[in-house]
């Protein structure tokens, strides 16, 4: 009777075994990697918007305050997306014939809202309030990145739970003085280690244990 297995069969068998083991370990790692990748989370990717609005130009170069458009950021939960009317306060006077701004003028003339692609999205079981963060010395750029350098706007952070908890566990590392909240280029000052805890006390931030309770964000 002829040999059933060739001399190379062992090697193939071992290779198959090792591939199996590698897949068992590797596939979950790969899957976890894909889920966290910028491709899936959208971090750093600027989608096509109805108007190629440039934060870099408006807030960076022209120095328009965040609150000129996002009027409710320090008042209520949602920061607010400006109505077309806000765009037209300037653009009824300047760049009135620009092709790029045609959708804005059309929206205003036809009373049809602009539909912006949403960048920053939280799961539906997470409740975030802009106003309390802003009044407690957490700056825009902590979450949204340096918007003033974004030619087209993209998502700066993936907003996974870990991201929120970093700050809720140790607010003193991120808290700023009130005048620095709107500063998009803020870097922790050299004395953040001493300034941070002082600010936390000054803002009455409840710190560690309380801020990491589930009911703070989930309800």
């Amino acid at each position: 009777m002829a040999q059933l297995f060739t001399p190379g069969a062992d090697a193939i068998y071992r290779l198959a075994l090792m591939t199996g083991v590698a897949c068992l370990v590797g596939l979950p790692v790969l899957a976890a990697g894909i889920v966290r990748s910028n491709y899936v989370t959208g971090v750093g990717i600027a989608p096509a918007q109805p108007v190629p609005f440039s934060h870099k130009h408006h807030s960076g170069e022209l120095g328009i305050d965040c609150r000129y458009c996002h009027t409710t950021v320090d008042k209520v939960a949602s920061a607010g997306i400006p109505p077309t009317h806000t765009c037209m306060t300037c653009h009824s006077q300047i760049w009135t014939g620009s092709d790029m701004l045609k959708p804005v003028r059309d929206s205003y003339a036809q009373d049809k809202p602009l539909e912006w692609v949403r960048l920053n999205k939280l799961p539906q079981y997470v409740y975030y309030n802009h106003s309390v963060h802003v009044t407690k010395g957490i700056g825009c750029s902590t979450c949204h990145g340096d918007v003033t350098s974004m030619q087209l706007t993209y998502r700066a952070n993936a907003f996974e739970m870990q991201f929120c908890l970093d700050c809720h566990r140790a607010p003193e590392k991120y808290v700023r003085t009130p005048d620095q909240v709107w500063n998009m280029n803020w870097k922790p000052p050299a004395d953040q280690e001493t300034l941070g805890p002082k600010l936390v006390a000054q803002y009455h931030i409840r710190g560690g244990a309380r801020l990491t309770e589930c009911g703070i964000c989930h309800r």
């Binding site: 209520v76 109505p83 077309t84 929206s107 912006w116 009044t135 409840r206």
Partner: protein
């Protein structure tokens, strides 16, 4: 469960004291092995599942679930991918924040003050208007469910002509062709049928219409009318009148089938005033006692300190006995329960001359109302504890019976039905549908394409009150304003608009719109436009015209008329009642109300034929048997329900079911009681026959769900007796649980709730409010049968004492937020845990659905999403969801959160204001806000001056199942009972 316990045995058991002192159902008293198995299984649905697959099957299922589990994470978040700002942002609307409008909820033409919370232009929630002089901040189930009514996908959405979609333009053209002829003949043959009308604007318009067409006849018809009240006053005082009790000045109340606590237009104002008066009497160490006799248990008779079942036919005789007693006669003799009750009630009335109050309900006879007026007059109560005012509802020129008669004679050429549904709710003897066929032109306008719509040539969709301008009067006459909170969803028109069109052929297209008509009605002659606008604006902000309540009328009793002979009766007596959740059927398509357990039977999704234990024994009928009630050649068939406290020979039929509109939610549920309603005595039918059909079908009921094991679940405090509450000085017993972590100084509050069982009337407003606020799904009849009712707040109804005339106790049970919560120990993934403000949190995104917490909870307040109850909702229904509360998915546990979204809002406001203390009352839970009797108090228990802390100092305060040492944050105040309580009521 059989639903078929041996009633004689039960009666004996209860009488001998072997039975439970407080019991929920006959099965619980019988305590059969089947019932014990049911309780031991705890969750009937889960027990069934556990028994199903064998080991192999189980492993297969688990492998499949494991393999597919990850897929649930896939899928898009539909609808959230774009941000759509305004083009021009309206001044007051801030996206993502609440905006509240004062308006009125309409109940059978009557109004109650409400505040409508809107978000991004969508009405989401109804709150009571605390400034409204009649409703005082309370609401009822219908007001709470009206937001669902607005988004109801079953609402009529288009004009229909002969059952085919048409348009307003076509309708206008068709009518405009006809109207010159009406003008020529002065409206001869034109009949207008409306529901009850209290609106001054509508009344003025009808008057204008009748001036335009002098021969037009106006009929008012509704499933539940106030004819008996007005006719009773006519017999006593010679003219129709409203009666308004002043409980605050009364020392004793005698209710002869009264209904001041029952669902109805007056419920909110009356029950609020009653409980305030009772609280006032308790504060002075007394008791505002309530003596109630009723043929069938009602919420009013359930709250009685001294109650007795009595045949409806004997109520007049009782009133005459009292009248004789007031005139110096002897107390009624006899040793039956009714006579004993009458002696007690009579004595109390005589002792409290001028401070007593006798009341009769909407469903009693005009004769009884007249006798009650005479009795109150004789006792000196009229003008002291009650006052009369002119009728609030407008009187038409005839009744529904007159209209049917005119149609039969062929005298009606045009029938205009505005906001009524006579084909369904008129007594079957009037044969309304067939008679309508004799009318050449039939126009129907309503919120739904209902039975009448289907029989009409033209059906027109009306605007919902939340979409309309208008006005409406409360029972005390206060004129409430109705303002729209959203543009009409389906191009519906208001009643005012249609009346204006029918009068002048123009309506809002060319004439005044509803707002213009409203302003025109209220602008005084010669009033300056700017001054009026200021006055109108102020009234609109308040939600009512200040000082518009009806003035007290001076009354004088007319000569008494001899009593009409009482027909001799054989057979059983049938009484009719509006349904306790869907009223006369107008609201039958609202799923919240269908799934709301009826306060006394705890049945959902249908009506039953209620009968007494005596009658059940005699006729060998068990709960669930399909029985037939026959009279005058007509019959209804429905499921029997043995109801403790029902008069022995009385059978109760409830209205609102047996609807027959294809494809509607309400279609095919229950039986139609109108089949048997007599025309002359709409609430009572004598000489009916009751037979068994031999078929059986069990009802879906929640009465045994959440049965708790333990002692002293319900406590009753006899006035003047030793306190039944928990001792306040005893140290907390030792516990295995770690002590709560020290409270750091930035914790805003320690939340707690106190529920006053004496004030709770079981009205269900809180349950519906919770459903609206917290996105609680409706699961349907089959799921409720499996024990999967989802309400976060249930109201347990307990009986005590004898089987035939028990006392009734209501106990609302939300999550207790135990300081040492058993559920938290059970969770393997820490999805339920405490926060430092004492809230027992439920984290949906962590929950994996082991249901361990549910089985560990001794209060049975946790609810599990067995199926995807929230999916598959129509987009229009999704508009109602509260965006501040997570919509729960399949496979997660949920429960009462103490309205954490409202707490968070207050906490964030305080945090932004340098952590200023949250003022007492700044956080009001949905249930608390809805309660018309203010039975629920919520607040910071760490603050000794808060209202909830005050309530907890009451000696009646006790913890539910406190012996388990769970240290619940929700505690109860025991209900009150007279010092020498009747059996079953002693402390």
């Amino acid at each position: 469960m059989t639903g078929n316990p041996d009633l004689a045995l039960l009666r004996q058991k209860l009488a001998s004291g072997d039975g439970p002192r407080f019991w929920r159902s006959l099965d619980a008293v019988a305590d059969s092995s089947e019932f014990r198995d049911y309780l031991a299984a705890e969750f009937p649905s889960a027990a069934r599942l556990a028994a199903a697959p064998e080991r192999r099957g189980f492993l297969k299922l688990m492998a499949a679930s494991f393999a597919l589990g990850g897929l649930t994470a896939c899928g898009s978040e539909g609808g959230r991918n774009f941000e759509v700002p305004y083009v021009n942002q309206p001044e007051r609307i801030v996206p993502g924040t609440d905006l509240s409008y004062a308006s009125s909820a309409v109940f059978d033409g009557f109004g109650n003050g409400i505040l409508v919370t809107t978000r991004n232009g969508r009405p989401l929630k109804i709150e009571g208007n605390p400034e409204h002089p009649w409703s005082l901040g309370g609401t009822d189930v219908l007001a709470q469910a009206s937001v669902l009514g607005l988004y109801d996908p079953f609402r009529s959405q288009a004009v229909q002509h002969l059952g085919k979609p048409s348009s307003w333009a076509a309708f206008r053209a068709a009518l405009q062709a006809q109207m010159p002829a009406w003008h020529e003949t002065g409206g001869e043959g034109v009949a207008l049928l409306t529901g009850p009308v209290t609106s001054p604007t509508v009344a003025a318009q009808v008057a204008r219409m009748r001036a335009a067409y002098p021969a037009l006849r106006w009929f008012v018809g509704a499933g539940v009318g106030r004819e008996a009240i007005y006719e009773g006053a006519r017999r006593a005082y010679g003219r129709p009148l409203e009666t308004l009790p002043d409980f605050g000045r009364a020392r004793t109340i005698v209710s002869l089938d009264g209904d001041f606590l029952d669902l109805g237009p007056g419920q909110v104002g009356l029950s609020g005033r009653w409980s305030a008066a009772r609280r006032g009497a308790y504060a002075k160490g007394g008791l505002l006692s309530l003596h109630a006799a009723a043929p069938t248990p009602t919420l009013t008779s359930a709250k009685a300190d001294y109650g007795v079942p009595v045949p409806a036919g004997r109520l007049e005789a009782l009133a005459r006995d009292f009248l004789a007693l007031a005139g110096g006669g002897a107390a009624p003799a006899g040793d039956d329960p009714v006579s004993r009750w009458a002696r007690g009630a009579g004595k109390a009335l005589i002792e409290a001359r001028g401070a007593g109050l006798v009341t009769a309900g909407l469903t009693t006879s005009p004769d009884l109302h007249a006798l009650v007026h005479r009795l109150n007059g004789a006792l000196g109560n009229t003008g002291a504890t009650l006052r009369h005012t002119a009728p609030v509802a407008e009187q038409g020129t005839g009744s529904l019976a007159d209209l049917a008669d005119a149609m039969e004679r062929g005298a009606v050429k045009v029938l205009i039905v505005l906001g009524a549904n006579p084909v369904y709710d008129a007594p079957a003897a009037l044969d309304f549908a067939a008679r309508m066929e004799r009318v050449p032109l039939k126009i129907h306008a309503g919120l739904y394409y209902d039975e009448t719509g289907a029989h009409a040539d033209w059906h027109l969709p009306t605007a919902h009150p939340l979409e309309s301008w208008g006005d409406v009067r409360a029972v005390d006459g206060t004129v409430g304003l109705i303002q729209p909170t959203v543009a009409p969803l389906y191009n519906g028109r208001t009643l005012q608009d249609m009346l204006a069109f029918l009068t002048d052929g123009r309506g809002s297209e060319g004439g005044e719109d509803a707002l213009g008509l409203l302003k025109a009605r209220w602008r005084n002659e010669g009033e300056d436009a700017a001054a009026f606008e200021a006055r109108f604006g102020d009234a609109l902000r308040r939600g009512y015209w200040p000082d518009s309540a009806s003035a007290t009328e001076a009354v004088a009793l007319t000569q008494a008329v001899p009593p009409s002979p009482v027909p001799a009766t054989d057979g059983i007596e049938v009484v009719f009642r509006p349904d306790a959740t869907i009223w006369d059927g107008t609201h039958a398509d609202l799923a919240w109300l269908q799934e709301l357990p009826k306060p006394l039977t705890k049945i959902v999704w249908e009506n039953v034929i209620a009968l007494s234990p005596h009658l059940a024994e005699r006729e060998k009928i068990a709960t669930g048997d399909i029985v037939r009630v026959e009279a005058a050649g007509r019959a209804v068939e429905g499921a029997a329900w043995i109801l403790p406290g029902q008069d022995a020979d009385t059978v109760t039929l409830s209205l609102g079911y047996g609807r027959n509109v294809p494809d509607h939610l309400s279609s095919g549920l229950g039986y139609d009681a109108a089949t048997l309603r007599p025309v002359e005595t709409p609430w009572r039918l004598t000489g009916a026959r009751l037979t068994k059909t031999g078929r059986r079908r069990m009802q879906a009921t929640t009465q045994n769900l959440g049965t708790m094991e333990g002692q002293d679940i319900v406590r009753v405090q006899a006035v003047g007796a030793a306190p039944v509450g928990d001792p306040k000085t005893a140290p907390a017993p030792a516990s295995f649980y770690p002590p709560p972590e020290s409270q750091d100084r930035w914790v805003a509050a320690q939340w707690g709730m106190a529920i006053d069982l004496d004030a709770c009337t079981g009205c269900n407003a809180c349950v519906t409010a919770c459903q609206a606020e917290n996105n609680i799904p409706v699961v349907g009849r089959a799921e409720v049968e499996l024990g999967r009712w989802m309400g976060w707040l249930r109201i347990d109804r307990y009986y005590a004492g004898e089987l035939d005339a028990p006392t009734t106790h209501f106990q609302p049970v939300p999550c207790m937020h135990c300081e040492q919560a058993p559920c938290e120990v059970g969770c393997p993934v820490e999805a339920t845990l405490h926060d430092s403000e004492g809230l027992n949190l439920q984290v949906y995104n962590r929950c994996v659905g082991t249901r361990t917490c549910q089985s560990y909870c001794p209060y049975k307040v946790r609810r599990f999403n067995y199926l995807d109850y929230t999916g598959g909702m129509t987009p229009v229904q999704q508009q109602q969801r509260n965006p501040e509360v997570t919509v729960r998915a399949r496979g997660v546990m949920e429960k009462c959160t103490y309205c954490i979204q409202r707490i968070t809002a207050a906490r964030i406001t305080s945090a932004k204001d340098a952590h200023a203390p949250i003022p007492d009352g700044a956080v009001e839970t949905a249930c608390q806000g809805a309660c018309p009797t203010r039975a629920i108090t919520f607040g910071n228990v760490a603050d000794p001056t808060s209202r909830v802390s005050d309530a907890r100092k009451d000696p009646r305060e006790y913890a539910l199942l406190g012996h388990l040492n769970t240290r619940p944050r929700t505690t109860y105040l025991a209900g009150l009972a007279p010092a020498a309580g009747p059996a079953g009521r002693e402390g």
